[in-house]
């Protein structure tokens, strides 16, 4: 299991570097797809089968396909030569430090191994993986789920409104 995790972690790092490193947009997007694939397999190692499937269906299968779709449709080969202003590294530094501080805080708080919750593999396999996620989502976390769905609905309605206005 440790070996599998090490391979996956290396894969995640390499593909994440690809997301920012490649010069052609389609390769950036495909690196992100590869990264999400690795993330899905990480979920699988953690016995979270449903999250594995959801990650693949929603992110790799729908969101990223649309990304790649737009990139190919607009064919931004001409954007490759887009000039850089030269001060991106400041933003990079600021957000990098913030992110590192967050990670550090997490490590100090939880330690490297994390805390054992009630949802052990045995407890989950007793009711079934999908059933456990579904029961948690629609009982304990019903309010956040509904709020998020309303938020997504607003975004969808807004997108339709913007698209319709342009046609008129």
């Amino acid at each position: 299991m440790v070996v599998a995790f090490a391979i996956l972690a290396a894969w995640e790092l390499v593909t994440a570097a690809g997301v920012v490193g490649f010069r052609r947009p389609i390769y950036n997007a495909l690196s992100l797809v590869a990264n999400m694939l690795g993330l899905a397999v990480l979920f699988l190692i953690l016995n979270a089968q449903f999250l594995f499937a959801a990650q693949l269906i929603v992110y790799a299968g729908a969101v990223m396909v649309l990304f790649v779709f737009i990139i190919a449709l607009l064919n931004p080969v001409s954007d490759v030569s887009l000039g850089r202003t030269g001060n991106e590294w400041i933003y990079g530094l600021v957000f990098g430090v913030i992110f590192a501080a967050l990670l550090g805080g997490l490590l100090v708080n939880r330690g490297l191994t994390g805390r054992q919750g009630t949802a052990t593999p045995e407890a989950i396999s007793a009711v079934g993986n999908v059933q456990a996620v579904g029961a948690a989502l629609y009982t304990k976390f019903l309010f956040p789920v509904e709020v998020t769905s309303v938020l997504l609905l607003i975004a969808a309605v807004g997108a339709v409104y913007l698209a319709m206005r342009r046609i008129r």
């Binding site: 594995f52 499937a53 299968g61 779709f69």
Partner: protein
């Protein structure tokens, strides 16, 4: 995970891959023969008795054909695309149980009639096929040709649109079976196949499945009259054969899922045939429907196709889902 489990899984994977490749080869012959008879032609009948060796001849021909490729291609993605298509198609068969109930007892080992029986079940199929879109799309993008690009754009838009209806049309089955495991779903159909209470869902699934595999009358991505051959225009030889293989294997998988989910899988009336034969028979009947539709119906217009997916199939499958849920809960409350 024990060594025994790994070895058994590897052997089962090899059997499934070989079975699917043979199935693909003879599905092409089946399609040509049936289509020929529907059009009052004899069909291929020169290679071997009744043309039975035709797939082998086709395979050899494609294998020894020199592969030409367009000059302005993106070489890495050009090679990656057919591989993604075939891997996604082959991997999705892993969850399908071809027989049952119980396990096969072979040399003292208990072997299930499937490669894996996972809790997420049919979500595996949806996850893996959503990756298949990349194969088609990258083929069109990497070929650097306008026909390929247009074909790929159409195809991926179509596959994304119909994936929604496909997934939602299966939800009523999950409600009735109470599980995503395909083995549980088949076992729940022992007395009544789900096609009986869920007939509309079956038709929704079938239409969405045909669109998902880009087959006639929804074969817009390879509309010969406008797009030459769509996303695989610039592929030849074995690389072309891989796309062809992925399409036909996807047909087999859509039919197998329909068999398992709606037609009772290995259960047959009167118990006259063993399980695997019932499964095979139902899959072949569904594949015949595929060929029959291709020989009968003209291709749809692209805007009609999109309208059908978003304005008819999606609302209908949502309605079907809600009605099933309400009826199920009401029936439970009474019982």
């Amino acid at each position: 995970m024990t060594l025994e489990l790994i070895v058994i899984t590897l052997i089962k994977t090899a059997i499934v891959v070989l079975g699917l490749l043979t199935g693909f080869a003879y599905l092409t012959l089946f399609e040509r023969k049936v289509q020929a008879r529907l059009q009052q032609r004899p069909g291929p009948n020169r290679v071997g008795p009744f043309g039975l060796l035709q797939p082998a001849a086709d395979g050899l021909k494609l294998f020894f054909k020199s592969s030409s490729a367009p000059a302005g291609r993106d070489h890495f993605l050009y090679l990656l695309a057919p591989a993604i298509s075939v891997i996604a198609a082959l991997a999705s068969f892993a969850i399908i149980p071809v027989s049952g109930p119980g396990d096969l007892n072979l040399f003292g080992h208990r072997i299930g009639w499937y490669v894996m029986n996972v809790n997420i079940g049919i979500l595996w199929y949806l996850a893996v096929t959503s990756f298949g879109v990349y194969g088609i799309f990258l083929a069109g993008y990497a070929s650097n040709s306008k026909y390929s690009m247009l074909g790929a754009l159409r195809s991926s838009a179509q596959m994304i649109s119909y994936e929604m209806a496909l997934g939602l049309s299966l939800v009523p089955v999950f409600i009735l079976a109470g599980s995503l495991r395909l083995v549980d779903i088949v076992n729940a159909q022992r007395t009544w196949w789900f096609i009986v209470p869920l007939l509309p869902a079956f038709f929704l699934y079938l239409i969405a499945g045909i669109a998902e595999t880009n087959r006639a009358p929804f074969d817009l991505p390879e509309a010969e009259t406008e797009l030459v051959a769509g996303y695989h225009t610039e592929y030849s030889g074995m690389r072309f054969a891989l796309f062809f293989m992925a399409e036909y294997i996807n047909m087999i998988i859509v039919s197998s899922i329909a068999t398992v989910v709606f037609l009772g899988g290995w259960w047959g009336p009167f118990g006259i045939l063993p399980g695997p034969w019932w499964f095979l028979l139902k899959v072949v009947v569904l594949l015949y429907v595929y060929v029959w539709l291709r020989a009968t119906l003209p291709r749809m217009r692209y805007d009609r196709l999109m309208a059908l997916g978003w304005k008819s199939l999606l609302p209908l499958s949502l309605t079907m889902m809600m009605v099933t849920a309400v009826v199920f809960v009401a029936a439970q409350g009474k019982a």
